[in-house]
Amino acid sequence: MKTKILPFIFISFFSFVFLIFYKGLKNPNIYTPNLNVEKNIPIFKAQIFQKEKLISSEKIFKQDKFYLFNIWASWCIPCREEHIFLTQLSKQEKINIVGLNYKDKDENAKKFLSELGNPYDIILSDKNGTLAIEWGAYGVPESFLVYDNKIVKKIIGPINEKSFLEFINLLK
């Protein structure tokens, strides 16, 4: 009796392990935080780009309006790629673009904007990168679509054609 149960247990156990590994193979091994959770935006005070003045988050984000919170830096190469889309978005009435200049030198950032144009309605400055973490970002570029003080959508990496069209659709 015992001799029959034991092999059966082992075989089913290893079959189970096989199945898990087989399914596990299809999962990506690089971790990205969950993108689909609606969260409140953090409450913060930040320095305005090239000014000494601090501004608090309630002053920037009003209810009933769309905002695109975009983290960028002049040293970040993908930021150049997404700049076209930001420029096009800035022509839309319904959305304000808020930039967060991440770990950058002011003169480089200024040069970057004069070269490629300035799509931002307001730019905040994050010299040590902590503000980006308050937003739950971990790299540049990252963008957050904000409505009613909530993060509606989050994009890790540069904005591309697809995400741009999604934004436009959401704005309609």
Partner: protein
């Protein structure tokens, strides 16, 4: 050309596999000698794998970029040494090395097992050939090192600079000798089970192979951690990273096997357990290969991953597991259960050793693969890191160390603990010393002091045994002494390491109560395949003379990667370790300075342990 020869050699090698299996089956029921054909084809196969391997090395040396593997992992400006070591520094080449070791070992096995029963030898060969055939197909189908690219690129992509390092150049071959060596134990255990040859004789015969694999695996792991220590730049030597864990698991299984095979050899008990462990060792090596190569886990050391490869190894791995299950349950007769165990006996102490070893193994196994299970079942993602392993392993070390101190003193069957007073005196002394060392420590005083007491206890007892006992138990004493030294150095190192992380510009000085770090200057240098920035730091501490340390930042040209090279001042008592890193858009550097006590003793103790393995092996040869 060399690639072409290499490729066709592989195909011929695969055919040799089939021929060997064919002749083995034909030869199985004949007379008592192994046919010459079997031996011949086994040798031929080994020979062609060597040719194939040499073909790949030559392609690397002459930078033949028509070969995809060479193109992906080499570059003309790389020093010759790293061109050669680049051969096994990638997925395809390292698998070819696996295959080389597999065929080498079975060839040696056939040569060295003349006095064993013929059926057992033939069966071992057959099982080994199943593994070898699997690897041949894997290599040729999914990871051929000889893929051709056209048009031929004029320059290669280069080898990741952190792999361009002497320790890491020899780390894979040595580690693979350990991993793959366990394949012989696997095949031989299956063969011995199937032919009813599990016995004292078999234990005696296979012990040599266990020792050899164990020796190389220990050494391989050591090289890996030394490399991680000075190259990865954050001063640790063990990170509980999945890739490290998968090398530690077969090591634990092998160590367990090494102990309990003694019980089989001397008392012919624990037969089922020995078979299970022999199977488990290689299965764990294969499982490690699967976890690392399939990219299912997320680790600092990743190979280029490809789901096809993962799937192939997975199916292969589980075929081997089911094959072993079948053989074990179908052929293995249950052993004599009327055996008497006494609490104080060598048998029981071996069981206790096995018990703890298996526990450590299960902690690591569960910790490593649990995230995969969780993600598949509930799509939640978690990390399992160092705190998990320390929490579950460290407290259990205490009884383990005590048992390790007493266990070897016991005799077979039934025994008494002798010299009880001596043992108690040692315990008191160990505790006093630990107390004195730790008296200024605030957090975790209790756990640390008990732990340190047990480590010192083992240390004293083994030191004493080491000096008193006769040459007979030399290897065992040496290994246990080495282990006590290892635990002791790791503990003290952990407790007393200090670290300063700060940002400094050139000319600035960091000051604290008893330490100052002065960033004096920075130098530039051009090397063959990288540029280097060398910082010069003067370190003054209240306790030591001042020293100059020169960490480096290397900017490699191909591929374009910046690496940080630590500068380490090594001494018997402590290592002083410094790294510098550039910070995005700032003109200061991030400096990390560490004082790590007794570092060198960690390496020395592991060397002693592995040396114990080889000395036992040599003794075994000498005795025969």
């Amino acid at each position: 050309m060399a690639s072409l020869i290499g490729y066709y050699s592989l195909i011929i090698g695969l055919f040799c596999s089939l021929l060997t299996i064919f002749y083995s089956i034909k030869n199985f029921n004949d007379n008592n000698v192994i046919k010459k054909e079997v031996l011949f084809f086994t040798f031929l196969q080994f020979f062609f794998v060597i040719i194939s391997f040499l073909g790949l090395i030559v392609s690397f040396i002459i930078s033949d970029f028509s070969n995809e593997t060479v193109f992906n992992h080499s570059h003309t400006t790389k020093p010759l040494f790293y061109k050669i070591s680049g051969t096994w520094g990638n997925h395809e080449g390292s698998l070819l090395l696996w295959l080389l070791v597999l065929t080498l070992f079975i060839f040696l096995f056939l040569l060295k097992s003349n006095n064993q029963p013929k059926k057992y030898r033939i069966l071992t060969l057959a099982f080994q050939q199943i593994i070898i055939t699997g690897f041949f197909i894997f290599l040729i189908k999914t990871s051929s090192p000889f893929n051709y690219i056209f048009p031929i690129p004029s320059e290669g992509l280069g080898l990741n600079p952190i792999l361009q390092d002497p320790a890491l150049a020899i780390h894979p071959p040595i580690l693979y000798l350990g991993y793959v060596g366990s394949s012989i134990i696997f095949s031989s255990a299956l063969a011995a089970t199937a032919s009813g040859y599990i016995s004292k004789d078999w234990a005696k015969h296979i012990k040599g192979w266990v020792l050899i694999s164990w020796f190389f695996l220990t050494l391989g792991i050591l090289l890996g951690s030394i490399w991680a220590y000075y190259e990865l730049g954050w001063g640790g030597f063990w990170f509980w990273d999945p890739v490290e864990n998968v090398s530690l698991m077969p090591w634990l299984a092998l160590t367990t096997l090494l102990h309990c095979i003694l019980a089989l050899e001397k008392r012919s008990i624990l037969t089922s357990w020995v078979i299970i462990l022999s199977i488990a060792t290689f299965t764990l090596s294969m499982c490690g290969t699967f976890l690392v190569r399939s990219g299912i886990l997320n680790s600092v050391h990743t190979f280029a991953n490809d789901p096809d490869r993962g799937l192939f190894i997975l199916i292969f791995l589980f075929s081997l597991i089911f094959l072993s299950l079948f053989i074990f349950f179908y052929f293995h007769k249950n052993e004599n259960k009327n055996f008497k165990f006494f609490l104080l006996s060598k048998e029981t102490s071996i069981l206790v050793n096995n018990w703890f070893m298996m526990y450590f193994l299960s902690v690591i196994l569960v910790g490593t693969i649990y995230p995969i299970f969780l993600e598949v079942i509930s799509s939640e993602k978690i990390s399992v890191g160092p705190p998990f392993y320390t929490k579950l392993i460290v407290p259990f070390l205490i009884p383990f160390l005590f048992a390790m101190a007493i266990g070897p003193k016991l005799k077979w069957i039934k025994s008494e603990v002798q010299n009880k007073i001596n043992l108690i005196i040692f315990l008191v002394i160990s505790f006093l010393i630990s107390f004195l060392i730790l008296k200024n420590l605030n957090d975790n005083f209790l756990l640390n002091s008990i732990l340190l007491t047990s480590a010192f206890y083992l240390f004293f007892i083994t030191t004493k045994d080491f000096m008193i006992k006769k040459i007979q138990n030399f290897s065992q004493n040496l290994a246990h002494f080495g282990f006590s030294l290892l635990i002791l150095s790791i503990l003290l190192n952990n407790i007393f390491s200090t670290e300063v992380i700060t940002n400094l510009k050139i000319g600035e000085t960091f000051k604290s109560k008893n330490l100052s770090i002065n960033f004096q200057s920075i130098d530039q240098k051009d090397e063959q395949n990288f540029k280097s920035l060398i910082g010069k730091f003067e370190i003054n501490s209240s306790k030591d003379e001042s020293i100059i340390l020169k960490p480096e930042l290397r900017i490699y040209n191909q591929p374009n990667i910046i690496t940080s090279e630590a500068d380490i001042k090594i001494s018997l008592l402590k290592d002083r370790f410094i790294t510098m890193n550039s910070v995005q858009n700032q003109n200061y550097f991030n400096i990390r300075y560490q004082v790590k006590p007794l570092m060198i003793w960690i390496w020395i103790s592991v060397l002693l342990i592995s040396f114990a393995g080889i000395s036992s092996f040599i003794r075994k040869i000498y005795e025969n």
